[in-house]
Amino acid sequence: MKQRETKAHANVETAVALLPKEKEEIAAFVASTGYDGEITYTVVPDLLGGIRIDVGDWVYDTTLKTKLTELVQTLA
């Protein structure tokens, strides 16, 4: 089974557009995980805040939306 094609792509999603300096920091962080391919930046206002990075097998998720969803689940 061939590895998923997203391994060749890292996706970064934020609620607001990123400044170039911030983009550099993120690129450095992604590079530190051993990944050296292309990075795609998307703006998703629905996330309300924080950042979500999909790199290979890892997801780094500090978005407010995820936190709120989890909160709702624990209260249910």
């Binding site: 590895q3 998923r4 998720d61």
Partner: protein, 501 residues
């Protein structure tokens, strides 16, 4: 007003104590979905049998760890899992919620309620896969588990901590034996767990109604994976029931667990293995189908006093095709269990119910699982009836046989008639002893065979009315001393005078 503000306070407290889960997590992505099995890419550090969670909340178990992919079975509906969706590892091995609150409830293998009475409260979770207690923890089986069925308690007695297989064709009364045993555990401080694997939902609902009717649900838990449920549920159902049993075992209790039935369990496992492309062997079962059942049944134990003294007695049920006990799964399970109760359809349709084949049925624990009185009374019964069966063919020519043979045939046919028993009427131990004592001591030899059942019923009523003290003494001491034998002799003689054939 006070109630409302306390509700708000509680909510605020919960919100404040909320800690979000770690922000970095490993994920996989779904590559293929089909037949209850999902192939994932990613998840490089997932463990064998670890629970994984799909994007829609459904859980799964990682069963196949290959170099390039992970094969997982889905615990729930797999139709709405999308290709490419995210899957995350939960870091937990599969476990079942356990608690006393489950008594009287019907749940699925994940502990979710199926009887519409709301979710069950629980504090602990027990793992589904667990190593059975080792040699050091165990003790010899020495306490009887009364089934209330004369034929079983007399000839193939079951002890607490034993594994006794119930095997036979369809519609021969396998489940009926299990149900009667469960009904008979009322007041015996034995927790009963009935695991239904791959059965019709209507059948389970009838069973629950029956148990409720005979007041047996209060000490019973039903774990159900119906024919409608995915193969993954049917695969884990017995282990879920066993995890529940181990919770009570750890409290020093005695547990009875019925697996109905393991044939369907093997089919579900075969389905999963074939879809996971594992190599298949005889009858298309995977290579580890023996281990599937042996690791389950090994968890039925009798623990020694130092470890609580509890026990789990297992009654697995296997359905044969055309009475073939030498098929693959039946032979596997026969070699694992400590004996079997073999039910024959010929006997069933000839009116002998329970349709137990005395010759092929055996209990490897035997006399150790009987109280002294029963052992004394039924000592030779099994051998005598086995011999009767082989002579039964000559019963047609009874007039041509010699005296000894004729006597054996007469006695045997009356004993077989005595061992017939209705459904849902388990008999307490002292009544069984009184009844069988009368039979083996020739008190029924002068009665026509067709009147034996009526005689037994009325004789037991007579004993209850006139010899109450004797019966209570027998019930308490479980020993057949001279005084009780004298009472029995007198009772039979008296009763025969008034019995109208």
């Amino acid at each position: 007003m006070a109630a409302k503000s306390s509700y708000q306070d509680e909510l605020l407290k919960k919100v404040e104590s909320f800690k979000p889960t770690t922000e970095a997590r490993q994920v996989g992505h779904v590559e293929t979905v089909g037949d209850g099995v999902v192939k994932l890419s990613g998840l490089p550090e997932v463990a064998y049998l670890e629970m994984v969670e799909f994007a829609n909340g459904t859980k799964g178990i990682a069963l196949n760890l290959e170099e390039e992919a992970v094969g997982a079975i889905v615990l729930g509906k797999y139709e709405d899992i999308l290709e490419g969706s995210e899957v995350r590892a939960t870091g937990q091995l599969l476990s079942m919620p356990v608690s006393e609150a489950f008594l009287g409830r019907v749940v699925n293998p994940l502990g979710e309620a199926l009887d519409g009475q709301g979710d069950v409260e629980f504090k602990k979770r027990y793992p589904l896969e667990k190593l059975a207690p080792g040699v050091v923890f165990r003790e010899h089986v020495n306490t009887p588990l009364q089934t209330g069925i004369k034929a079983i308690d007399a000839m193939t007695a079951i002890g607490r901590g034993q594994r006794q297989l119930i095997i036979g064709d369809r519609n021969t009364g396998k489940t009926a034996i299990a149900v009667d045993t469960i009904i008979n555990q009322k007041g015996e401080d034995v927790v009963c767990i009935y695991v239904a694997i791959g059965q019709k939902t209507s059948r389970i609902s009838n069973l629950v109604a029956t148990l409720t009717k005979y007041d047996a649900m209060a000490h019973t838990i039903v774990v159900a994976a119906t024919a409608n449920d995915p193969a993954a549920y049917q695969y884990i159902a017995p282990y879920a029931g066993c995890a529940m049993a181990e919770y009570f075992l750890d409290q020093g209790k005695d547990v009875l667990i019925v697996y109905d039935d393991l044939s369907k369990h093997a089919w579900a496992y075969r389905q999963i293995s074939l879809v996971l492309k594992r190599p298949s062997g005889r009858e298309a079962y995977p290579g580890d189908v023996f281990f599937l059942h042996s690791r389950l049944l090994e968890r039925a134990v009798k623990l020694d006093k130092a470890h609580g003294g509890g026990s789990i007695t297992a009654l697995p049920i296997i359905e044969t095709q055309a009475n073939d006990v030498s098929a693959y799964i039946p032979t596997n399970v026969i070699s694992i269990t400590d004996g079997q109760i073999f039910l024959e359809s010929d006997l069933f349709y000839a009116g002998q119910r329970p349709a137990i084949n005395v010759g092929l049925s055996v209990s490897r624990v035997g006399g150790d699982a009987q109280n002294k009185a029963m052992k004394k009374v039924a000592g030779n019964l099994r051998l005598d009836l086995a011999q009767y069966r082989s002579l039964a063919a000559f019963a047609q020519f009874a007039s041509d046989a010699d005296e000894a043979t004729k006597k054996q045939i007469d006695r045997g046919s009356r004993m077989m008639e005595l061992l017939k028993q209705g459904q849902y009427v388990p008999m307490p131990a002292e009544k069984q002893i009184a009844s069988i004592w009368a039979g083996v001591n020739g008190k029924l030899d002068d009665l026509p065979v067709a009147k034996v059942q009526q005689f037994e019923k009325e004789y037991l009523e007579y004993l209850d009315a006139r010899y109450k003290k004797t019966m209570e003494k027998l019930k308490k001491e479980k020993k057949l001393d001279e005084e009780i034998v004298k009472d029995f002799e007198a009772a039979v003689a008296d009763f025969k005078k008034i019995f109208v054939a």
